[in-house]
Every structure is written in structure tokens, then in C-alpha cells.
Point group: C2
């Protein structure tokens, strides 16, 4: 790209956006739905499947209970959606359950939610990708041996995309999400029609039976609870909207709530439909395929995912629609995984605002920061996927603990919120009994489910969450304590006076290069009381060469050569400063040095360590100002181009970043 | 430690060392020997063992050839020592074979040596540690199941010690090394005496026989070569001295050469003695213990190392001397591993001098740099140990390729060196026919061995070296090309004139803290033509608070609040600079901001990213000087204490680092 084109491009994207235009950056409902819903909707791809799987442990007879379990799940979805409607209204700033818990139950409770969510982001990636791979394999069984490789590949791909930076464009999300909804609806409708028409779809696994030992009443009860708990994985992602209110078009709250209701309706009906079809077509899905009597080569071939089996039964195996369905499912699951990469920095910035996470997470547009987040998230997910061999069932055991921690704390927080309003005379009129009731119900039921989920899943892997969660909690708490201590340390009082005197300047010179000449020039322009150039003579010959070059170049600033018997650059300079101090007493000395600006991360490894080292040492001596005069290497261009790229979470944060403008032309002469 | 004590301590270590005192820092022979010899000597712990092991593959009959193989190895040691004596004399600067190859065969050849050595440093750690663990297990067989864990533990320990920083003290090395020599000599003497007295020691493995299929003549020949190749592992570490000449007391060269001869004598005699005892006591050591007919539970119990078996046979199993011997062996092997951690940064700095490695490696006393080296080395070694399950035999297969690459290139280089001298009329008189002859022999024989080693080991793992080596080579070459390009980019010409004008100054203010006040104060002291304080109003309320605080604190510098609709700190500042530019035309603007100085690495994660980000952006705009005013947090003290600590390789480099002096007292008021 020529510099003309570049400057042209910069001119176009460079024009500042007045705030009303900014609205254009915000999301209309039809775009917001796919962006925020992919996570929640995609979970119906594994929710019912897990429910069937657990029930089947108790034998095929247990499947008869599927409807009741399903109804329980759907009811819960309704309750959570209703509860979140109140949250969105009361806390439209996008802090979601974390904020609600933080404000009403105190920072400690808020942190519990935060650490739970952090863990769940990692699990969202792992679960969604694994489920996605399941569905890919259901379409192309020959890929089965590569399952882990494909899963890891997907995660790496997502990470790469988010590192490179892509704006969550509505269209990119809309097409797969709506395609997914459409094809699942088509599946359900067709299936129902076929059933009514008398030739109900028959799943490929219908023929298999399961041998199991008779179960005690208690065991059956426990199984039902476990099935319910696993089915609840369909609720994951509903919280996304309450975290993304700021990204909606005006009226934000109203639009967000409408979208939330839409989301609830769609996901419950999908869940219901898939469960229904699963029962009608007698899908038999087992934890261990070899429990399925009649499933021939259970060792080698994988079970077809529930969606896959339904697609095959209704549309016909290998039919175009079958592939469309599975493709859409896989895609939407990948998008769901992607949401974690966007949600993570968002939560991070909120936590940073409250001082529980490194302030850096609050610094908009700092690529480095976001990159670290993306990498950490990806590594965590890869680890999980590799350890569990991308086994969805194993992952689901750890999943949704976090979600329900945040749900129940969020709802409990809302209850407190209402009670406070009622107690407070000024706000009593805002108290809404209906909303209050909804949140009470929400709090109680989500808390109950949390207990159920914990009990039923703890030994199956959930205990990990209870190990890592507290660690995160303590970490964040410690961070906040640290910041508090520093704030105290640097708080000024009326006695804070420095009264610095003197204005000497030194330019550090290694070799006589353009960057050094520029630094000299700027130092001259700053008109200090006194100015000298200084060189630590690590190598006497180099020093001689420098002296000659100094004359040749006709530099007017006096050059002082400091002997450096210990081959150390900084020590002689420090000694020089010290001796000046001894003569002139405390004075401010401005030490100029060039600073290289470069475009590639690896260039940082190759440059500038010596001056970094000198800076370090200077920073420990008194009365010194370190003046860096930037020198842009050619590769620095890349930085400017990168500035333009969007960062993960931008779309959800709803604050469009203003494109960057840079000045150009050669740096010399200016 | 109270601040009094601290300042006292600083006073003591703080006093500068005049150069004559510096001599005290250099190594007398008796200290140099252990420091430089531990690597070479320790290798007799595994050299003979590997020789026996390979021979045994061909059946016990083959062991009859051990003496001839051993003689071959000892001869080679003698040749290499003789060759190195010349190197030390001709190139006393400590560049060793790398320098010789670089100067005489050209940089490309030098790089080959360099990459070979880099790989061998990693292998030295892995091999020495694994062998050390072998000997520990020989003393305490019940530890066998933990072999890998112990090995990794040792590597981590070494890394930790070197990260923390320990001067290679003569004593720490002397005691184990001399103890090792003493106990092995005692072993040999005792063994010989017993043999003469008619009751020769009998190894625990003497009873075992080995079943093997008859070997073809060719196979036998190949086996002999392989045995020789493995025995040559006893030569590793001899090069250490030629790399450490600068560390010797005056007369450096003479002392280094004497030490080298001592080393050669000691290690050949140890090698000879152990081989002799091994034969007398009929040690049977097999690649796979289960090849030993009569070795009962070969699956579970490990073979006792050769040293261990000899100790048991001569001193009696479980006798005090037996444990002393094995302890000394294990210790000296750990020291040998440690030498890699010291040699690595040394080679790094030489490479950096030639521009083949990041310049940072040349920056004396930059902890960060050394730390990275230590970590990389440790990770590589851990990887090797884990992959090979700390199996010494597997590791030896990759080992010593590098050593012999450097030997043969070094010797070849010396040959060229002599030829040049002879051709050059001015230096003809320096030509030394004897030395020349020695180096010719050295070059030919080491080259031959290199070929043998490569052929016999390639398929057994050595191929890895031939994969990684070239990669390193290309990498270093690319680095050098990059530096060349940049040097060109920044080279000044007679037209290089910047002619900067104007002297405006800006102090960036976030909140009103002591660091900010200090920055303001320094900016005032610098007496710029115009000075203003600037604040990006990300949060309007915070801006209001700042204004009030500004008045309360009575700051005289005008405060300008820049609106920041996009919640970005840097953009408004950049726009402000731009608008100034539009008014006043190109001028130099000095932007002041506080810079936090802190002691813990993790504090860097918690601080300063925002200002780092701002610096980045400012560095891309024209006519800006970034003036950092350091603010030392209390934790910054730690930095000064750390400055005092020695760095890996200091002792070998022979350039004592001058202890650091810092000024103290509270920073305000000055």
C-alpha cells in the first residue's frame, strides 16, 4: 500500500465521529440478538443431549421422565429471564450480576461472582468448541480420530482472530445464528408434521437397548436431579444481555429487555422442540457408547450428537438440510466460544474500575493488555480440552456452577436492592412489588439449583471450580489491598513541597547516530541553563572514533568522555551526576536519550535494553528527569495501522473507539 | 534489616575497588581448577559406563576390547588438551573455539560453533543432572520411582539459585570437586591394591551373563566405534578453560595452561582407573537391564551406576566411603550442570558483541537479560529430561556432537591461524611448527571423531541436534542482518540537521498525587518558555475533583481540562498537541509524566500501563520529548539490594562487577 493510499485511508477513517453519528455504532435489536444470543441459543445444542445422557444411565425407562425434567429447565429459563429483566432495568450500566452483587451484597460477594464468571469464560470456550466438534464429527464421522486436534485448532483460530482484532460485526453473527434458529425450527416443524402424519422420525440409536442394574428410589431421585442439573446448561449465556446494555440503541433499556424476552422465548421453544423430537424418535445417548446394547463398534465410532441424530432422522442422513443443520450448529457454537473472548476484557475493565484487577485492563486500546487476556483464556481452554480429550460430558460437569453462582448472587442482590428502596423514604415510590416478587422467586430457585448442581456434580469434576474460584478471589482481593496501600503512599498533604532547583541537561551518547543527533537537537531547543553530551567509554577506541565523528559532524555541544573501567554504561554516568551534586548541591538534571519506536514485537528483544537498563539505574538516583526523544524506525508504521483495528469486546461495550489520526512525513527537519 | 544496617552494609560493599585490588577477584589456579574442571572431571562418571554399556550389546566377549577403546579415548583427551593449550596461548581473550573459528574460518563457521555450543549447554545440564540422579539412586535404590521428579527438581533448584544470583565461589566448587577426585583416586588405589593382594573386587553384576546373537564382523566394528563415541563423552568440558582465560590470575595464559594440563592428567588417569576396575571387577552394564541374564527383578529395580558398583565392590556396599564416593559424584555432577548456567551468558555476550545475538546480552548487570537466559536453559533441560525420562543413555546419544563440532572447528581454525602467520612476513617469526603440528593432528582426529560420532549416533537421537542446530544458525544470522539494516537506517550524513525550534512543556495529570506534584516541580525548575498542566477528562466528576484539589494544593501552573468523549486518555492530548502545532507551527513540546519505580516484578503488572500506553502514542507524534520524572515506591529499595548480587558467569568472565552505590534519604524536598 503506497503512502498516498495510506494517508488517503487515514483521512477517511480519520474523520472524527460526532456523538449523534456514534449512535450508528450501537446495535439495533435485530443485530444485538445474534451477537448476545449465540451463547445462550447454542447451548440448546448440548443441553437436551446431556439431559438424555444422564437419564439413560438409569436405563431407557428413565427417559419417560425427560418431559418433566425439560419442563423444569424451561421454567427455570423463564424465571431467570424474568429476573434479568429487572436487573437490566435497575442497572443499565452493563455491570450485570457482578455489579448488582457488588452494590447490594458488598464487594466480597461481588468478587465471588467475578471469579465464578472468569472461570466460566474459560469453560464456555472449552464446552462450546467441544460440542461444535461433536457436531462436525456427526456430519463427518471419519474425522473422529482428530477430535482433540480439531478442538485445539478451533481455539487457536479464535485466539488468533481476536489477537489480530475483529469488530464483532452484526452480519458475521446474524447469518449463522439466524440460520441455526431457522434450521432447528425447520427440524422441529418437519418432525412434528411427520409425527402427526403417522410416520414419526426414528433415530439411528432407537434400536439400541441399555442394560442397567435396578436403581434404588434414592438413586433414581439423584439421577433426575443430575439430569436436571445437566439440562440447566441450556441457561448459560442468558446473562450476556444484562452485561451488554450499553451497546444497545436508544432506548437502551427497553431494547435490551425486548431482546432478552425474545431470547427467552426462542431458547425455551428450541429446548422443548428438541426434547420432544428426541423422545419421539427414541434417541438413546449414553455416557459410554458401549453401554448401548446393539451399538456394534462402540470402541471406534463415536455416538452421533443428538442434533445430528435428529437431523438424520427427520431430514434423512446425508441430505443437504442435514448438513446445513450441523454446519449452522457448529458455527453458532464457535461464535458462542468467541463471545467469551469478548466478554472477558469487558468484565476485566469493570473489575479494574473497582480496583480488583490490574488498572491496565481499564486502559482502552492497549493491545498488549487485551492480547494477554486472549492468550490466557485460550491457554486455559486448550488445557481443559486436552485434559478432558474434548469430552463434552466431562466438561459439562465443571460448567454452569459459575453461571448459577452469578445468577443467584445477582438475584439475591436485586432482592436487597428492592428492600433498600422500600426502606428509603425518598425512593419508596420506585419500589415495584411485582419485580420484587420475581427476584425473590429468582433468587430462591437459582440458589436451589446451585445447591443441586453442586451436590450432583461436585465429585464429577465440579470440585475443580471450588478449588480455583477461591484462589482467584483471594488474588483479586490482594490486588485491591495493594492499590489502596499505594494510593495512601502517594496521597499529597499540605506539606508536600519539592522546591527543586537548577536546570542542567545531559545527552547520553553511545555512537553518533541520527537518533542521538535528534536528541541533541531537542535538548538544545529546550534551552537548559547548561548542556553537555556524555559518553561512557566502555571501549576506548570507540570513544576515539566518537570524538572524531563529533568534530566531523560539527556538533556544538561539548562532549565529555567518562572512563568506564568496569565496562558498565550507567555507573560512570551516575558517578558524574553525583560529583555534580557534590559541587552544585541538589539540582534537577534532565538526562536526554533517544528512544527507538518499532513495529514488530520481536524488535523489542533486539533493541534498547541498554538504555532501558540505564533508565532503571537513573530512576534510582535523585533529582533526575529522564527525557526520551523518540526515533521511529521504518517498521513503526505498522503500529499506526494496528491502532485502527478493533479490540475484543468493543461491540459489546457500546463505546465505539474513535479511529486514530497520526501525522506523517519524514521525522528529520521537523 | 534496619535502614542503618542497610546503609552501613552499602557503605562497606560500596567502596570502589581500585584495579590492583581487582586482582583479588581473579582466580588462582587451585580455585580455577575446580570451577572450570567440574564439568570435564564429572564426565568420567558416565564416560566409562557408556563405553561398557555399548560394548555389552555385543555380548560379554566384547568387553575384552574395552582397554583399546579406553586408550583411544585417553589419547584423544591428550590431543584435545594439547590443541587447546595452543588456543589459550593464541586467543587469551576467552572467546575459545568460537572466536578461533570466527576469526580464522569466517563468521559463518563461527556461528556453527556457537549454535553447537548453545545446544550442548542444554544437554550438559540434562546429562549431568540425569547422571547425578543415577548415582543418588545407586546409593538409595528406593528413590528409583522418583527419578524424573528428582532430576527436574535439581534443574529447577539450579535455575532458582542462578536467578537469585550466586557468585561462583571457589570454595563451594573446590570442596566437592577435590572430594570427588580424592574419593575416586582412593577407589582406584584401593581396588588396585586389592587386585594385587589377590582378592580382586567383584561387582554385584559380575554374576550376570548376557545372551546375544552372533555379530557380523561389520557389526562388531560398528559397536567398537559406538563404544568409542560414547566413551568420548568424557571429553566434554575440556573447552571450559579456553573460554575462561580472563578469569585467571596473572600471568593469565600461563596459569590457564598449567590448569589445563592438570585437568588433562587428572581426567585421563581417572578414566583409565575406572575402566581398569570395571574390567577387573567384571561390571556388566546393559542398555536394557532385562538383557542381563540372572538380574532378577529387572523391571522394577534399576541398575547400579558403574561408580556405584565399583564403590560397593571396593569399599563394601553401604560402607561410609561408599556413600562419600556417591555423594561426591552426585555433587560434582550438579556443579557441572551449574557450569552451563554460567557459560551460557558468557557465550551470549560474545555473540552479542559480534551482533549475532540481542545486544541486551552484552549489557552488564541487566538482571532481566540473564534471567531470561537461565529460564530458557532450564526449560530446555527439563523438556529433555522429561521426554527421555532422565535416561542417561538416551541423552548421551545427542550429547558431544556439539562438543566435537566446536573442537574440530576450533582446531581447524588454529591450523589456518598458523598458516596465516607463516604467510605474513611481519609475523613469520611467531610461527611455531610444533604447535602447528599439534593443531593439525588435533583437527584431523577431532574431525574424524566427529564423523564417527555422527554416523554411530545419528539414528539414535543425534539427528535432533542436526535439526535444531541449523535453526539456531539461521536465527543468529538473521539477527545480524537486521542490526546491519538498522545501523544503515540511523547512520547520519552531512545533511542530517533537525533544527528543532520552540520550547513548550506539558505536565500530564491524572489525579493530584505526590508523583504528579514532583513532576510539576521538575517541569517548573526546567524553566520552559511556556508550561501548562493537562488532564484528559475521562470522568467529568474526577475532573471537577481535580480542579478543586488543584486550588487547595495551591499549584501555580495553569490546569487545562481536555474533554475525552471516547474515554481515551491519550487521544485528547494528541489532539491538543496537534492544535498547538496548527497555531505555533512545528515546535518541540516536552511532555512530563511521573514514572513509578518499584521493586517486585508483579508490581509492574499492576502499574503504569496507562502511562506506557500514552508514551507509546506520544512516541508516534512529531516534535515530542517524553520527560519521565521517577517516583520511587517504598518497594524500590529492593532494586538497590538486588544490584549488589552477582550474575551468572561473573566469576568466569574475570571482570568483577563494581558494587553499586545509591543515594538515599526521602525523595521529597530534594
Amino acid at each position: 500500500m503506497t503512502s498516498d493510499e495510506r494517508s488517503a485511508k487515514r483521512w477517511i477513517i480519520g474523520k472524527p465521529l460526532p456523538t449523534e453519528q456514534l449512535e450508528g455504532e450501537l446495535l439495533p435489536k435485530k443485530v444485538a440478538l445474534p451477537i448476545f444470543a449465540s451463547d445462550a441459543l447454542s447451548s440448546v445444542a448440548y443441553g437436551p443431549q446431556e439431559m438424555f445422557l444422564i437419564l439413560t444411565i438409569g436405563g431407557l425407562a428413565m427417559l419417560a421422565n425427560a418431559p418433566y425434567v425439560a419442563i423444569g429447565v424451561m421454567l427455570l429459563i423463564a424465571i431467570v429471564v424474568a429476573g434479568n429483566l429487572q436487573t437490566v432495568k435497575a442497572y443499565p450500566s452493563g455491570g450485570g450480576d457482578y455489579e448488582v452483587a457488588h452494590r447490594n451484597l458488598g464487594p466480597r460477594a461481588g468478587l465471588v461472582v467475578a471469579s465464578a464468571l472468569l472461570i466460566d469464560y474459560v469453560l464456555t470456550v472449552a464446552v462450546s468448541v467441544s460440542s461444535g466438534v461433536d457436531n462436525i464429527i456427526s456430519a463427518f464421522p471419519q474425522l473422529a480420530p482428530l477430535r482433540v486436534e480439531i478442538a485445539v485448532g478451533c481455539i487457536v483460530l479464535l485466539a488468533a482472530v481476536n489477537l489480530r482484532g475483529v469488530r464483532e460485526s452484526g452480519r458475521a453473527f446474524a447469518i449463522p445464528t439466524y440460520l441455526f434458529i431457522a434450521s432447528v425450527v425447520a427440524l422441529i416443524v418437519a418432525g412434528v408434521v411427520q409425527t402427526i402424519a403417522g410416520d414419526a422420525p426414528v433415530a439411528s440409536s432407537a434400536a439400541y437397548s441399555v442394560q442397567t442394574d435396578a436403581l434404588s428410589q434414592a438413586a433414581i431421585m439423584l439421577l433426575l436431579l443430575r439430569a436436571f442439573a445437566s439440562g440447566c446448561s441450556a441457561l448459560t449465556g442468558i446473562e450476556a444481555i444484562s452485561n451488554g446494555v450499553p451497546a444497545f440503541r436508544r432506548p437502551k433499556v427497553r431494547n435490551a429487555r425486548v431482546t432478552l424476552v425474545l431470547l427467552g422465548v426462542v431458547s425455551t421453544s428450541l429446548f422443548a422442540g428438541i426434547t420432544f423430537l428426541g423422545l419421539v424418535s427414541q434417541i438413546h445417548y449414553a455416557e459410554d457408547p458401549c453401554d448401548l446394547v446393539g451399538f456394534a463398534d462402540c470402541e471406534t465410532t463415536p455416538q452421533q450428537s443428538v442434533i445430528g441424530q435428529l437431523g438424520a432422522a427427520v431430514f434423512g442422513d446425508g441430505s443437504p438440510l442435514f448438513f446445513v443443520l450441523l454446519a449452522a450448529t457448529a458455527l453458532v457454537l464457535l461464535l458462542a466460544a468467541n463471545t467469551a473472548f469478548n466478554g472477558f476484557p469487558l468484565l476485566g475493565s469493570v473489575l479494574a474500575d473497582h480496583g480488583f484487577a490490574p488498572k491496565a485492563l481499564r486502559t482502552r486500546g492497549d493491545r498488549l493488555v487485551y492480547s494477554n487476556g486472549v492468550v490466557v483464556l485460550a491457554l486455559g481452554a486448550v488445557l481443559l480440552v486436552v485434559v478432558t480429550q474434548a469430552n463434552l460430558n466431562a466438561l459439562i460437569q465443571m460448567y454452569i456452577i459459575g453461571v448459577f453462582v452469578s445468577f443467584s448472587f445477582g438475584q439475591a442482590g436485586m432482592v436487597v436492592h428492592w428492600l433498600r428502596l422500600r426502606r428509603d423514604p425518598r425512593h419508596r415510590r420506585e419500589f415495584d412489588p411485582l419485580a420484587f416478587g420475581i427476584n425473590v422467586v429468582g433468587a430462591i430457585s437459582t440458589a436451589t439449583v446451585l445447591v443441586v448442581v453442586t451436590i450432583t456434580k461436585f465429585t464429577h469434576g465440579a470440585y475443580l471450580v471450588f478449588l480455583i474460584g477461591p484462589v482467584l478471589w483471594v488474588l483479586m482481593w490482594a490486588i485491591q489491598r495493594y492499590y489502596a496501600r499505594v494510593r495512601q503512599e502517594i496521597a499529597p498533604d499540605e506539606h508536600t513541597v519539592f522546591g527543586a532547583k537548577g536546570d542542567h541537561a545531559i545527552v547520553l551518547v553511545g555512537e553518533l547516530t541520527k537518533p542521538v543527533l535528534k536528541a541533541l537537537d531537542y535538548a538544545i531547543a529546550a534551552r537548559h541553563e547548561s548542556l553537555e553530551a556524555v559518553h561512557s567509554a566502555i571501549d576506548p577506541d570507540a570513544a576515539k572514533r566518537l570524538k572524531r565523528a563529533w568534530v566531523r559532524q560539527g556538533v556544538r555541544v561539548p562532549l565529555r568522555i567518562l572512563p568506564s573501567p568496569y565496562r558498565d554504561v550507567s555507573q560512570p554516568v551516575l558517578d558524574h551526576l553525583e560529583s555534580r551534586r557534590a559541587e552544585h548541591g541538589p539540582e534537577v538534571v534532565t538526562v536526554y536519550m533517544p528512544k527507538y519506536v518499532m513495529g514488530h514485537w520481536w524488535e523489542r528483544i533486539l533493541h534498547d535494553h541498554k538504555s532501558r537498563r540505564v533508565r532503571q539505574r537513573l530512576a534510582l538516583t535523585h533529582g533526575v528527569t529522564i527525557a526520551l526523544v523518540p526515533w521511529r524506525l521504518q517498521s513503526a508504521r505498522l503500529l499506526e495501522e494496528r491502532e485502527g483495528r478493533p479490540l475484543p469486546g468493543d461491540a459489546r461495550r457500546g463505546t465505539a473507539r474513535r479511529p486514530v489520526r497520526q501525522h506523517h512525513g519524514r521525522q528529520s527537519r521537523r
